[in-house]
Amino acid sequence: MAKKTILVVEDEEDMQYIYQDLLAKKYHLIVVNNAEHAALKLKQEKIDLMLLDIILPDKTGDEFFKEIKQKKKFKKLPVIIISVLGDMMDELKRTDPDVVCMQKPFDDKVLLGKIDELLK
């Protein structure tokens, strides 16, 4: 079975390393620094799941999240929003209870479990 593709949208160099270290064995990772590149990759590649940071250089992750969720093509795309900013994720959950969020620093097992669950 081919590896599922995860798009990681994260500008923090160290975090990018952590994702690689944690996920690269099991999943095919595409890592981008900003929302613009993420949008491009979503268009070009077949993405199964997206890990999205909230504070990005070009726009905030929640904005980007709302944008892509408006597009029919990505309505069903599983997204995990990962950030250090708990209150911003709370705000996001208030407007959309279905959104999946995870606070940094995350527990590896919890994140892996969530990814598994969403990819099923």
Partner: protein, 615 residues
Amino acid sequence: MPEDIEKLKKELEKCKADKDMLELAEFSINKSYEEVFWIDKDAKIIRVNDYACKMLGYKKEELLKMTVHDIDPVFTKDLWPKHWEDLKKNKSQVIKSIHKTKEGKEYPVEISINYLNYNGREYNFAYAKDISQRECALQRLKDAEEKYRTFLENLIGIYYKANINGIPVLFEGTVKDITGYDKEEFIKGLSWDKIIHPEDFKNMKDSWELLAKAPNTSVNREYRIIRKDGAVRWLHEITRNICENNKPKYLIGSLHDITEKRLIQDEIGQAKEDAEEYLEIAANIIVAIDTKGKITLLNKNGHKLLGYKEKELIGKNWFNTCLPKEQRDEVKKVFQNCMEGKLNLVQHYDNPIMTKDGSKKIIRWYNTYLKDKTGNIIGTLSSGQDITEKQKIDELKSNILRDVSHELKTPASLITYAARKLKEQVANGELNNMHTYLRILNKNADRLNHEISSILEMGRLETTEDIAKDKVNVCSVISGVVNYYRDVAARNHNKIIYHKKAECIIKGNENLLKLCVSNLIDNSAKFTRNGKISVSLLKTGKTVTITVKDTGKGIGKNKLKYIFNPFVKVDQSSTGIGLGLSICKKIVDLHKGQIKVKSVHGKGTEFKITLPRGV
């Protein structure tokens, strides 16, 4: 005797003529509408005319046997001799008396009596006129006048009739209440002019002149008088001129005390003025629109805020003129529904408006209905506060808070994660990635330390007016910082160049100067890839100039003037909370120096600090 015949004939003719005259006189007396009597010294009626017979109800023969006393109860027998003597002396007189008919009915008469001595005999020749009708009318008039007077006296106000010069012939009503003077004082000659307030006198004079000249004119005016006790009262006077032959002859009019009314009016006027003034000075925008959306009121600040001249927008359609295009239809629809009562008016909301030049402003609105006396909705009144700036500031604040928490929490979470990873790896004996996690741990601990220090430093510098200064060797300060940053710069493949100069001593704070230089080099290292960071020091007579120049990405023109403000980040994608340059500026200020920046986007940036040597 023809002469005698002629004489006789002449006498006969004369007699005949006399007889004719006599008959004519007799006839006219008989047909007269006055009673005519010949009365002798003893009050006996000698002759009487037909009209007297008719009036008194006697036949002529009856009357000729009667005396004055029988028909006039006033002239009794005992009064008669004196009357006769008086008449004899005065020759004629007019008196009022009473006549009594045969039936016993009495009526008032006016009698004009003449004394006559004819051929040695004395007569009283009297004409009597029935004046009962006239008396009646007079009585009625008197009654009416009395009634009218009572009526006027009981009315509130003054009612007058005056000749054209303003001298009153009639002056009634509550004169004393209003003026403090008795009405007799006016009748006796106290001039009304005297009590008119001097400031109102000119206007009053004009109106009198008009009343005296223009026929059938009515004048309505309000003016002040000074009462007898000195109090000032406001009166309302209506005067009309009455004309004879189309010339004003009399003035009639009324006066009322309207002081209370004026006071209330003044109060209302003042309240209205106050309200209008408030509207004008109100910092808020205050707008009233009718049910069709037409602007019926917009205060000065409202016009100013919207970029229009005062009053320019009155009568214009609010929605079409002052709302951004994309908002118009929706707001119009809601408004229409509110006006029709289908929707309750939203009392508070924030909405954008569009100014004359097309820019937008966010207004926080407070709304209420305007209703007419019967309670129908006739529009809305809204007070709006321009919260554009406030919103910007709020947004900025929340962005700063978000950025600061992000910048602090990110290294902290990485430290936690790396530490946890290291612990796991040590426990599992898998040490292959250990170095990477140690590096992450180390780097982020430094980063967190740096951020916290800069926040604390900024907080400290914000409230610092003066600093402890000592001799500082700028040259070695720079050397130290440059050496520390060589490794950091190398990570992004940058070279730091510093040609060490001889000693350069200034008076300053070594730690702060170190922080200042390291912030500048840190920035350059962050934004430069595969480039060069040159640091130099220039010593002149009284100053030293430190220059930090890089070949990095540069700063956009629009950002350049804000970079020394706290929490402004040159590049959103960079790490850090944006305090570095504001700390530098503050430190330079505390050394009474200057910091300047030059930058070309894509080419590089140069910071130049000039400090007084102070030694």
